[in-house]
């Protein structure tokens, strides 16, 4: 048996799909070589590696793995373009954009997305579409900082924020599950509601001015001393508690969703609620649980944004991050590690966008649209098809 498995494993590495993956890797490498810490100055390397990537892609595409193959071709071309651009730019500018702290800021921007995307995964895996992630995140952001301001403790601020997101999710759940409202319309409504509620109370409680500075903030985890400027220290030494919590959440949610009876039941509700009901699973209860949990997680992401990172609040502070989280969920194919990977990618693109003004303001602005463009391409099925849970969006009627 072991030799049989061994043969299978060896065959895996030369299959067209695997070759397309190598193409992807070469395409990425073409760009990575041209930026710090390597900073190759010759355009030969990115061009060579990009061409190898494209060849691998064409090879794979001509042998059945069309989507992955053409994807590798695109990545190879992008690798050449970006790599050559990087070799043309001054090393000073490159050092300013691509430092170890880029990893830290990628994690900062990815964290709210991760919380909301994982939340969305619970809701959608149970069969309830959650477009309201943005609104739930905004609730967490506002009530989180209000709680931290009023009670003087970030812990209670975080708890209050999470509760507010859970309450808004409960509204969505009630309309989606018991009143059987269209879930997309309901989610849209929830977003408007959150905008109205937070805007109204921001004016009522803070007169529309900024929240006073010095509100209790979620602390950082200091793994290294402040004076240490090594790569590890700059990248991971002083990350916020919530960033580590987000990474833990990804692992925990994977285990819960795919290794426990609870996760199996949630997925059953999302794939075939009638079958789940027949074997005695309480579909309504699990859907309520999942939607409320998704609201609480999205709100935790929002609370991190205000209480952990910005330490202040301004109107509509989430500014579309909930929708990027939704995009990450779809891009990650409704899986925890997929969603986390997409969140990291989108976080990285935001982090780079914030540093791009050293080159050009226009590029920096247009770069912000990248997550949405990537998601559009992903749902168009160019790089593998995203498949939502079968019964998502359908209200369930007990018989």
């Amino acid at each position: 048996v072991s030799t049989y498995v061994g043969q299978l494993d060896a065959a895996r590495f030369v299959r067209p799909k695997a070759i397309a993956t190598y193409g992807f890797a070469f395409g990425v490498l073409a760009f990575l070589l041209a930026i710090p810490p390597v900073s190759a100055r010759s355009p030969v390397w990115p061009i060579l590696l990009g061409i190898i990537a494209a060849f691998a892609g064409v090879f794979a595409a001509s042998r059945g793995a069309a989507r992955a193959g053409w994807g590798a071709v695109v990545v190879g071309m992008l690798g050449i373009a970006l790599g050559v651009l990087a070799t043309r730019s001054s090393t000073g500018n490159l050092d300013q954009v691509f430092t170890a702290s880029l990893i830290a800021s990628m994690l900062v921007f990815a964290t709210p997305l991760t919380f909301a995307a994982i939340g969305g995964m619970f809701s959608e895996r149970s069969g309830v579409v959650n477009i309201g992630l943005e609104g739930m995140m905004l609730m967490g952001a506002f009530w989180g900082i209000w709680g931290a301001d009023k009670t003087g403790s970030w812990v209670s601020g975080l708890v209050i924020g999470i509760i507010s997101g859970g309450l808004l999710a409960l509204v969505h759940a009630f309309f989606a599950i018991h009143l059987r409202a269209d879930q997309i319309v309901g989610g849209t409504a929830v977003n408007f509601l959150a905008l109205g509620i937070t805007g109204y109370f921001f004016v009522q409680l803070y007169h529309g001015n900024n929240v006073p500075t010095g509100v209790s903030q979620i602390p950082n985890v200091n793994l290294t001393s402040k004076s240490n400027h090594g790569f590890f220290s700059e990248a991971f030494g002083h990350l916020n508690v919530m960033i580590w919590a987000a990474m833990a959440l990804v692992v925990v949610s994977y285990v819960v969703m795919f290794k426990t009876p609870l996760g199996l039941r949630i997925r059953a509700c999302g794939e075939h609620p009638r079958a789940a009901d027949t074997v005695g699973i309480n579909v309504y209860l699990l859907r309520y649980f999942s939607v409320v949990l998704s609201g609480m997680l999205a709100a935790a992401g929002g609370a991190y944004l205000t209480v952990g990172y910005l330490n202040t609040y301004n109107e509509n502070v989430t500014a579309g991050r909930g929708f990027i989280a939704l995009a990450a969920l779809i891009f990650g194919n409704w899986r925890p590690f997929g969603a986390f990977g997409a969140a990291l990618l989108f976080g990285l693109s935001t982090a780079i966008a914030f540093r791009l003004p050293v080159y050009s303001d226009s590029a920096a602005t247009l770069f912000q649209a990248l997550p949405y463009v990537i998601t559009l391409i992903a749902v168009a099925g160019v790089i593998g098809r995203s498949t939502p849970p079968a019964a998502v969006g359908r209200p369930y009627v007990k018989q």
Binding site: L179, A181, D182, F192, L193, Y200, F201, F323, A327, S362
Partner: protein, 409 residues
Amino acid sequence: LSESLAPVTPPEPDTPPTTVAARLDLMHRAGGLAVPVATGILAFVIGGLVVLATGHNPFLAYRDILNGAGLNWIAHPWDTDTANTAPYNLTQTLLQTTTLILTGLAVAFAFRCGLFNIGGQGQYFMGLFVASWVGTSFVNMTRPAHILLGIVAASLAGAAWAAIAGFLKAAVGAHEVITTIMLNWIAYWIGNYLFQQGGPLQGPANKPLDIPISADIAHSAKLPVFWGDSDLQGLHIGFFVAIAALIVFWALLNRTTLGYEVRAVGYNPTAAAYGGIKVRTNYVRAMAISGAFAGLAGGLDMLGYLFHYGTSDVQASAIGFLGIAVALLGRNTAVGVAIAALLFGALVFGTTHGLQSNVIDPSLAGHLTELIQGLVVLFVGADLLIISIWRAGGRVRRRPAKPAAEAAS
């Protein structure tokens, strides 16, 4: 045939109506005027409770909002001089109504084809950007030609932007809600790019060059104003274009083959395909027509009263999203959209610039609009709520419900 149906899954017999159009059908049968009126009132009552809970008098607040919207003009309609407050406020409310009729139609038309077009905001932006470009270029054209070019280009831009979503739906079955959300945000960042310092459309004349706004459009591209001062955002002829769009919407849906096909696909794509209607073509077509309405709204706004646009305007704009509430409250019919657009137009202007009140602050009242908007969308979308209101109205005996609605009880 089965291949052309690929993106469409047949409905399971044991589920309640799941397609948007089937829900819409239910809403149409459920209680005539009663549902939108009841949900509207409910939303205003809850909004009033929030006002009350935060220490303001809701009746006085709503009275001030109505006056701010200029609806008190009805008390003395012979006074049309916009130097006076009430007629001026009314013209401003009607300006908002013009835009909302069109963004509402953009949502409503797609709805009739079973598509939920959340992308009205992005399509509105694209129309507005193109109108800004046309208005600041081609300065040597005659006025009617310049205006016509601007309006047509804006509509086409909106149509093209929406058609992307329609095409993706038709070609690979990508859900139009996801794609239109993404297109909204792409349009948002394109706008930030166009008007930011050094952007292609930035460059205010007679102003410091570092302001991130566009130049004013040429005089030859400005729409004629028929009520009020053309320099003080008077009511422009785009108002009549919006009224005409309502008639076009009705006629297109109810009196043409195209409209018949769109509605057939909306009710049941499988049956429509069986009847020889090209479902995919209709998805693209319905989205494009929807987008044309929203793009037209952007074009009329730019050529009618905005004249220039900036990054802060892009970031603050939400009139395209408001079209969702207008269409749902107006139940996707021409007359309904007109009435709902007037209501929300009054709310938008009456809670912000028009509001003169010592009861409620304009910055507070502006968020009341968002709250009421959210509540309206929430309640209108709820089937069981609608069915129970319907039952309360005693209509259930006259027109028996479909089995799906029966199973709901």
